[in-house]
Each structure stands twice: as C-alpha cells, then as structure tokens.
C-alpha cells in the first residue's frame, strides 16, 4: 500500500498482546515551515542561493504503546507536537516514517472544534459529524437526545453553526464526540473555551468514559486535571518524547507542579 509497508517494519499488528490499544512506533512527522510560495519567491530564492525548503520534525521518532483502558495525559509546551501526535493517532494525518496502530473506534476532538459546516444547522452537523465518526443513521437517532441534552444549547440547535459562539460550537463538538461509542477517546485542549459548569460536566463525563475501560488520551496544560484524569503522563519536547511514566513525576518534569498546590478549584479553569 504505502511506503510504510515496504521499508521493513520489524513488527506487525500480530506481535502485540490483545489488550494493546495504541501502538506508536518510531513515528516521525515532518512539516515545512512554508508551503505555498509564488513562482517569483522561488525564483528569487534560487537565484540568491537561499534554500527554498525549510523543514522541521513536529513529531520526532516517538515510540510508545498504550494498553486498553489506560488514561494518558499528553503534556508539553506550546508547539511541542501534542496536537500533531494526536492527529496521527486519530488518523487525520499519516506518519512520514514509522507506524501508528490503533484498535477499535476512535472519537474525540482535535484542538477545540470539530469540522462543522457553518451553513448547516447544529442538528444537521450532529448527523454529519456522527457519520464521520462512523455512526449509522439509526445509531445517531438513538443518541441524538443525549447529544442535544449534553450540548444544552437550546433553540440554537436549529440555527446555522456559523452563528454559534466558540463556546457553543465546542460544546456541541464535545457532546457529539463523547456520545459516540468509541474505544479510544482523544481530547485535545477541549476545555479551553467552555464555561465553568460545562468544564465540570465534561470532566465528570470523561471520568465516566475512563472508568468504563476505554482508552483516554487527554491533552492539557492543567496539572490538576491531568492528575485527576490520568494514570500515565507523556511529555513532548520539541517533538521528541521526553518523559513517559508516572503522573506526578511527569508534572514535576515539566515544572508544572509548583504553581497549583493551593488553588485546587482554579485548576480546571487553568486549562487554557
């Protein structure tokens, strides 16, 4: 199929135990700093002997495996490759080298908001989005009330999503993603724009998801919520996996531990 098969990958899906949920194996994803250049820019750069390509590894040789039911907190500074890693696991992007393997249905949100069509109503977007996650029409109908109740945006459900506030569309996005019966749930900074009651509701729902035995991947900068949600922490540093292990040690590794001891209630709100 692709280049990944031909370049002698030593392990295949069969080499992992049946409770393996996610395998990330020597995964590298390279981006160019600038893609679209005009004919003039390219010619001038060539003429001056400057390089016309400038690349960096957003995710650099990252390997780990996740067992079914683990809840992973993915941490790191801005631009360390968290969202890119998540899009690789989610299947939106494919790795340049290495391989990603997952078991079961994946749902979740990548960086707040979930590919809504602005001209369609919230209702139509629920059906469309659920279909993208792989639900059938009947499955969506069965879950529709739960989704609408969780999003709790009232009459706005029938107006175009383009008119929604950022909070409203992320509520709807989360409501859809969380109500898909998935085996792996990815949550990327999804609490960044919600109000406080909604954040509480989301955390409670995610704990429910975690306790039901699904694999959870949670990206956050809030040490408190990671401590509450996760039993393992991965820290990315410039695209490389810098830490993989215990939650408290991971938070300490990032030096996120000093500032959140005395404001327990503020922690959820710090998820920005």
């Amino acid at each position: 199929m692709s280049a990944a098969d031909s370049t002698s990958v030593p392990t295949g899906p069969g080499d992992y135990s049946p409770d393996t949920s996610i395998v990330v194996e020597n995964v590298t994803k390279t981006f160019s700093l600038r893609y679209h250049r005009t004919f003039k820019q390219v010619t001038v750069a060539k003429f001056r002997g400057q390089k016309t390509k400038d690349e960096f590894n957003a995710v650099d040789d990252v390997s780990f495996t996740v067992k079914q039911g683990e809840s992973i907190g993915l941490m790191g500074l801005n631009g360390s490759g968290k969202s890119t890693l998540l899009t690789l696991i989610n299947g939106t992007m494919k790795p340049d080298t290495g391989q990603v393997l997952t078991r079961g249905r994946i749902a979740g949100l990548i960086a707040t908001g979930a590919g809504f069509h602005p001209q369609l109503s919230g209702r139509d977007n629920i059906y469309l989005n659920a279909a993208v996650f792989g639900l059938t029409e009947q499955e969506t109908k069965d879950r529709f009330d739960d989704i609408a109740a969780f999003a709790d945006i009232g009459r706005h459900l029938d107006s175009p999503v383009g008119n929604y506030s950022s909070g409203m569309s992320s509520r709807l996005g989360f409501a859809i993603a969380i109500n898909v019966d998935c085996d792996i749930f990815l949550a990327d900074e999804l609490l960044a724009v919600g109000d406080k009651p909604f954040k509480r509701k989301c955390m409670a729902k995610m704990e429910e998801v975690r306790d039901s035995g699904r694999t959870l991947f949670y990206v956050s900068h809030a040490a408190g919520s990671v401590r509450r949600m996760c039993d393992r922490v991965l820290v990315l540093e410039n695209g490389r996996l810098a830490f993989d292990g215990d939650v408290d040690e991971g938070i300490k590794f990032l030096h996120y531990d000093s500032d959140d001891e005395n404001n327990d209630d503020e922690e959820l709100g710090a998820d920005v």
Binding site: M1, S2, A4, P13, Y16, P18, D19, S21, V23, F31, Y35, H36, Q68, G69, T87, I89, N90, G91, T92, M93, K94, D96, Q99, V100, L101, T102, R103, G104, R105, I106, L109, I110, A111, G113, A114, G115, H117, Q119, L120, D124, Y127, L128, N129, A131, V132, F133, G134, T136, E137, D183, R210, D211, S212, G213, R214, R227, R228, D231, V247, D248
Partner: protein, 300 residues
C-alpha cells in the same frame, strides 16, 4: 491523587477489533462502503448551495434553460440557420454532457480545499469529496433531463431500449471520467491552488471540443479519416450517445440521421470509452493515494 474505582464487576474492557492503522482506507471502495456519510455530504452540498436562496432548486432549471436559449438564438438562428434538424435538441443533448462534466471537474477540483475544516480535524477517506462533487453534479442532471424529455416527447419521440442504453452508457462515461479527473486535480489543487484556474480554462475547451454546437457530420466531412482522432475524446462519444438516445428519434427519418450524423458502431465505441475511463480512474486512485498523505498539513 484520587483513588480510582475498578471497572464495574471486575471485568476488563475488551475491544473486538484488530490492531490496524487508524487511517487505513481502501480508497474509493471505502467511499462506497460508507455510503451513508457520502449521502450526507451530498445532501449538505446541495443544501448549502441553495441556502439563503428564495427560488432554491428552481435555479437548477433556470440556468440550463437560459443557456439553451442563448445557443438556439446564436447558433441555431444566426450561424447554423436550420442546416441541422431539431438543432435545439441537438444542442441540449450536448449541453447535458458538457454541464455534467465541467461541473464535476470544476467543483471536484475545489472540493478538498473547500472542505478543509473537516479534513484537518477528522479522519475520513478524502476520496469522499471529489466523489460527492460528482454526485451533486449528477443530481443537477435530473432537471435538465426533465426539460429534455418533455421537449422530445412534445416533438414526437418515443423511447427505445438501445437509446436508453446509450444514455446510461454516456452517463457512466462522464461519471467515471469526471471522478478520475476530479481526484487527480483535487489533490493537485491542494499543492498549488493554480490548478483550479487551469481546470476552468480546460473546461472552456470542452464546450467546443464536442459535437454540440456543430453536428458530427461536419467533423467527418472536414477531417475525413482524421475524424477518428476526434472520436478519441470520450466526451464526444458521450455527447453522440446522448444524441443517439434523444435527438435521432426526433428527426424526420431517424435511420437516415443515425447513418449520416453518427459514427458507426457507436455503442461499441462507448463501451471502449467506458473501459478507458475505468482504467483512468484506477490510475487516478493510485496518484491520489500517492499524494493524499500530505493533504492535511498543506491545507492552511
């Protein structure tokens, strides 16, 4: 750190699915497998196009009707002056094919860039979007077909099995060829947005490269044996097939018209073109797969 309760009943959660790449798709087969999603995307496209419009779907009748009117006046009354029998129907047969193809090609080319919000966030077979564009264009064939059928019935045409087979064959050629080109150019358009402009220039040629505003007999008269090369264009064949289906039956002597105005062995040629289109579609799928990995990061 809070203590976590064990999963209810002490049972472990077992996923009954193989460990596989999350984006494993079989390309167009995957699109076919996820027909429900395709249906929603097509419906979304049609709704979005007419949203905020008062006349809505009526526009899809008005547009072809006005075009037909222009061609009848300019080419039928001013240029051709009645040399071709039932010239309006002759043109309209071509117009259906040309519209269907250019719409598929143009909208399909833009489809991936236009849906970047979805493609950047969610994993779904990207072939979905060019195919959906083709389906939307196919949907727009319906009103034109209604106009055409009513017109030819008024003139006194009766359907024939061969004619209908010819029409279906023509639709098949345009569907498959249009999808093939839309696939390749949609991904090319992600890399360089210039391709959308290239495509709209290319579609300008289509109108005049098919026997629509001139009869095929003119081509065979002028070019003689070289007319064979003219027929290498799958779209010319598609137009001739639609003319076989609707126009020939409206002329004074259909048998004579078919003999003089159409190339021989039209259905056979059509089947060959269909086969060629299928081969092109397979090639297009391979090209698409080669380049699709880089699509999300290039959609900024």
């Amino acid at each position: 750190m809070t203590e976590r309760p064990e999963p209810a009943g002490g049972t472990t959660y077992v996923v009954d699915a193989p460990l596989a790449p999350p984006a494993a798709t079989q390309g167009l087969l995957e699109v076919f497998r996820r027909r429900y999603l395709l249906k929603l995307l097509v419906r979304r496209e049609i709704n979005a196009r007419y949203s905020g419009s008062f006349l809505g779907l009526i526009w899809s009748y008005i547009n072809p009707l006005t075009q037909l009117f222009i061609y009848i006046v300019v080419f039928g009354m001013l240029l051709d002056r009645g040399r071709t029998e039932q010239f309006a129907i002759h043109i309209f047969c071509g117009l259906i094919v040309v519209h269907f193809f250019t719409e598929t090609f143009n909208a399909g080319t833009r489809s991936i860039v236009r849906n970047k919000a979805l493609i950047r966030k969610m994993a779904l077979p990207k072939e979905m979007f060019p195919v959906a564009s083709m389906m939307v264009s196919l949907f727009h064939v319906a009103p034109q077909l209604v106009i055409l059928t009513v017109t030819v019935l008024v003139v006194g045409w009766s359907p024939s099995a061969v004619g209908m087979a010819a029409f279906v064959l023509a639709l098949g050629i345009v569907m498959i060829l249009g999808t093939a080109l839309a696939l390749v150019f949609s991904v090319a358009n992600v890399y360089f947005r210039d391709f959308a402009s290239v495509v709209s220039i290319m579609t300008n040629f289509v109108r005049f490269g098919v026997p629509m505003i001139y009869p095929y007999s003119l081509v065979s008269d002028r070019f003689g044996a070289a007319a064979e090369y003219y027929l290498w264009n799958p779209l010319s064949n598609a137009v001739l097939l639609v003319q076989r289906a609707f126009w020939v039956g409206t002329t004074e002597d259909p048998a004579a018209t078919a003999a003089t105005e159409l190339p021989d062995n039209l259905i056979g040629r059509g089947l060959l073109m269909l086969a060629i289109s299928v081969v092109l579609l397979v090639i297009a799928q391979l090209v698409f797969r080669r380049f699709e990995n880089k699509i999300p990061e290039r959609l900024t």
